[in-house]
C-alpha cells in the first residue's frame, strides 16, 4: 500500500506532532519500508480467528468500591510549575 507525504502529514497532525519538510520525507520513506514488510500478513487467512489482546484469561477485573488513600496532592503537583489552587493551569482553550 503506497503511503504518501499527505498521509504522513495527516497522521502527524492527529498525533499532535509537527514535522519539518525533511522529517516528512524521511518518515514517509521509512514508513513505506515498514508497511512493505508488514504487507506479508495481509494475505494470511485469519477468518474466524479471534484477536488476542492479552494472553491471560482475565476478564473484567473488579475491586470493591471502597475509598482508598490517593497520592498526596503536593507530591503530584511537584512535576508542574503551572499549578493554581490545586489545579493544573493551561493556556487558553477557546
Amino acid at each position: 500500500m503506497a503511503v504518501t507525504i499527505k498521509d504522513v502529514e495527516k497522521t502527524a497532525f492527529l498525533a499532535r506532532i509537527d514535522l519539518s519538510e525533511e522529517e516528512k520525507n524521511k518518515f514517509t520513506e521509512e514508513i513505506k519500508i515498514i508497511l512493505d514488510h508488514v504487507e506479508n500478513f495481509v494475505d494470511l487467512n485469519t477468518e474466524n480467528i479471534p484477536p488476542t489482546i492479552n494472553i491471560l484469561p482475565l476478564y473484567n477485573v473488579m475491586r470493591d468500591d471502597i475509598t482508598r488513600p490517593s497520592l498526596d496532592k503536593n507530591a503530584v503537583f511537584q512535576n508542574t510549575s503551572h499549578e493554581e489552587d490545586g489545579m493544573f493551569k493551561v493556556p487558553k482553550i477557546l
Partner: protein, 485 residues
C-alpha cells in the same frame, strides 16, 4: 576475585557469615562504577554515595543484631530508567521526562525495597524503550563492555552493560533479552502478568514485562522470586502464588523434551552464532534431554504483528505526554493546541515520533482492520503455534539474537534490523524466556534463549541452570577495551 565481580548468592553467603559487610560491598561496587562508568556510560542517574552507604549500613545493623535477612539484602542494584522510583528522577531516557520525579514507586521497586537491596542508580535505555541498541537515548549511547565501539543492545542496554561491567550486582529492566545476549549476562522476561507493570513507564503495554538482569541463573531465580506476584494495582497482573524459583534449580534435565524451532534456524544468520547455540543444545542432550525439531509455522508473520501492535500501543500510551501534568512543557504558547504540539514536537526524539506516527496510521479509520485487527489475529495464531509445540515439548531453545553486538552508529534505525527476530515471539505470545551466555564468537558473547509455556519459569530456570553448571561454559568477563577480548 573482587567483591564487585561476585554473584548475589555468593555475596549473600559472605554477608550472613559476616565475612564482609554490606557497606564494604557497596563501597567496592561504587568504586568499580567510578573506575569504568566513563567508558561504559550505563547510568543516567547515580545515587549519592552517602545515601547508598546508609542503606547498606542499615542491613549491616540488622545482620549484627542477628536478624534474618533475605537473599537480596545489602546487594547493590540498579533499575532501568523506565521503572518509577519515588523521589528519584525517572526519565525513560527521554527529553520529555528529563526532570520527572515520580511521586510513587513501581511495584517492583517496592518489592526490591522490601528485600533491602542497595539502590545505586538508574540505567540508560532507548528512548521510551523504542530501539534495539540504546542509541535512541536522549542522553548518550551506552557502550558494550566487551568492545566499547559496539552497542550493548536494547532497549534495556544500560541494565545489561552495568551488570556485565560489574557496576551493579543485578539490575531490573524491560526488553532485556537482546542486551543480555550482547553483553554476556543472564536476563529473563517472565510470563506476561507474572510481574506487575505498575509504575513501569512503558510504551507497549501488552508486550513489556520487567525482569531480572543478573550474572548467573541462580541470581536470576532469586531476583524473579522477589519481584513476581499479584498486584491489585495492575489489572493485567496474574493471580496465584509465586514458587520458590531457586528451589527448582536441581540441574537435572534428564528426560526433558526440548524443541528446536526449525523456522528460527532457516534464516540466514551468523553461522558461528548458530554453531555456538547448536553445541549448547548438544550439551543439553548429553545431560539427558531429548532434543527434536519443531515447527512454529507462523514465524514469518511474528515481526509484522509486532511492528503493528508495538506502534499502535505506543501511539496510544504516549498520548499522555502533553506538557500539562508532568514532563517537558513548552512555555510561551498562545493556546492549548499549540502547547500540545510544541511540547510533543520538542520533547520526543525521532525514533519515538516515527513510531507514534506509524501507530496512529495503523489505528486510523480505514486502516485499523487492515493492520491492527489483523495483527491481533496473527498474534492468536502465533500463540497457538507455541501452545501446540508445548503439548509435545517442555521447552524450546533458540539463539537469543541472530548475531553478536554491532558497531555504534550503524543500525540506529531500528526499523527492520532483525535483532528482535527471536526475542519478539515470546513477547507477542506472552510466554517466558531466558537468555544466558553460551559462547564467544570473535571475542563477543552469544546468547542462548530458552522459552517455555506460560508460568513455567521454574522449568526454564532449571534447564538454564543445568546448562550453566554442567555444560562447561565458564563465567565470562569483558575486557572493557575498544578491541574486545
Amino acid at each position: 576475585m573482587s567483591l564487585y565481580e561476585k554473584t548475589i548468592h555468593e555475596l549473600h553467603g559472605m554477608l550472613i557469615k559476616k565475612e564482609i559487610s554490606a557497606e564494604e560491598l557497596t563501597k567496592d561496587v561504587l568504586a568499580r562504577m567510578d573506575q569504568v562508568e566513563d567508558k561504559v556510560k550505563s547510568f543516567v542517574f547515580r545515587e549519592e554515595k552517602e545515601k547508598a552507604i546508609a542503606q547498606a549500613k542499615g542491613v549491616d545493623e540488622k545482620i549484627s543484631r542477628g536478624e534474618k535477612v533475605g537473599p537480596l539484602a545489602g546487594i547493590p542494584m540498579a533499575y532501568n530508567d523506565n521503572i518509577c522510583t519515588k523521589g528519584i528522577r525517572t526519565t525513560c531516557s527521554s527529553k520529555m521526562l528529563a526532570d520527572f520525579v515520580p511521586p510513587y514507586d513501581a511495584f517492583v521497586a517496592e518489592k526490591i525495597g522490601e528485600a533491602q537491596s542497595v539502590f545505586i542508580g538508574k540505567t540508560n535505555m532507548d528512548e521510551f524503550g523504542i530501539g534495539s541498541s540504546t542509541e535512541s537515548s536522549f542522553f548518550y549511547p551506552t557502550r558494550n563492555p566487551w568492545n566499547l565501539n559496539l552497542v550493548p543492545g536494547g532497549s534495556g542496554g544500560g541494565a545489561a552493560a552495568a551488570v556485565a561491567a560489574d557496576e551493579a550486582v543485578f539490575a531490573l529492566g524491560s526488553d532485556i533479552l537482546n542486551p543480555a545476549a550482547f553483553c554476556g549476562v543472564v536476563a529473563m522476561k517472565p510470563t506476561y502478568g507474572r510481574v506487575s507493570r505498575y509504575g513501569l513507564a512503558g510504551s507497549t503495554s501488552s508486550l513489556e514485562q520487567v525482569g531480572p538482569v543478573t550474572k548467573d541463573v541462580t541470581d536470576c531465580a532469586l531476583v524473579l522470586g522477589a519481584i513476581a506476584g499479584h498486584d491489585p494495582k495492575d489489572s493485567t497482573s496474574a493471580p496465584g502464588d509465586v514458587p520458590r524459583y531457586d528451589e527448582f534449580l536441581t540441574g537435572d534435565i534428564k528426560g526433558m523434551h526440548i524443541g528446536i524451532p526449525k523456522e528460527y534456524f532457516g534464516n540466514e544468520f551468523d553461522p558461528e552464532v548458530k554453531d555456538a547455540v547448536l553445541s549448547a543444545v548438544k550439551k543439553m542432550e548429553e545431560l539427558g534431554a531429548h532434543v527434536d525439531e519443531v515447527s512454529l509455522p507462523h514465524t514469518p508473520y511474528v515481526m509484522s504483528a509486532y511492528h503493528v501492535i508495538a506502534a499502535a500501543e505506543a501511539s496510544s500510551v504516549l498520548a499522555r505526554y502533553e506538557g500539562v501534568r508532568y514532563g517537558y512543557r513548552r512555555e510561551d504558547v498562545p493556546d492549548i493546541e499549540a502547547l500540545y504540539r510544541t511540547t510533543r514536537t520538542e520533547g520526543f526524539g525521532p525514533a519515538v515520533k516515527r513510531r507514534i506516527i506509524l501507530g496512529t496510521y495503523f489505528l486510523s479509520s480505514g486502516q485499523i482492520d487492515v493492520y491492527y485487527k489483523k495483527a491481533l489475529q496473527t498474534r492468536t495464531l502465533v500463540k497457538e503455534d507455541f501452545d501446540r509445540a508445548f503439548e509435545k515439548y517442555d521447552l524450546l531453545v533458540s539463539p537469543t539474537c541472530p548475531g553478536t553486538a554491532f558497531p555504534l552508529g550503524t543500525q540506529a534505525d531500528d526499523i527492520l534490523n532483525g535483532t528482535g527476530l527471536y526475542t519478539v515471539p515470546p513477547c507477542v505470545a506472552g510466554i517466558p524466556a531466558i537468555s544466558l551466555p553460551c559462547g564467544l564468537v570473535q571475542g563477543l558473547p552469544v546468547g542462548l534463549q530458552i522459552m517455555g509455556p506460560a508460568f513455567a519459569e521454574e522449568k526454564i530456570l532449571n534447564a538454564a541452570f543445568a546448562y550453566q553448571q554442567r555444560g562447561g561454559f565458564p563465567r565470562i568477563k569483558p575486557s572493557l577495551s575498544g578491541e574486545g577480548k
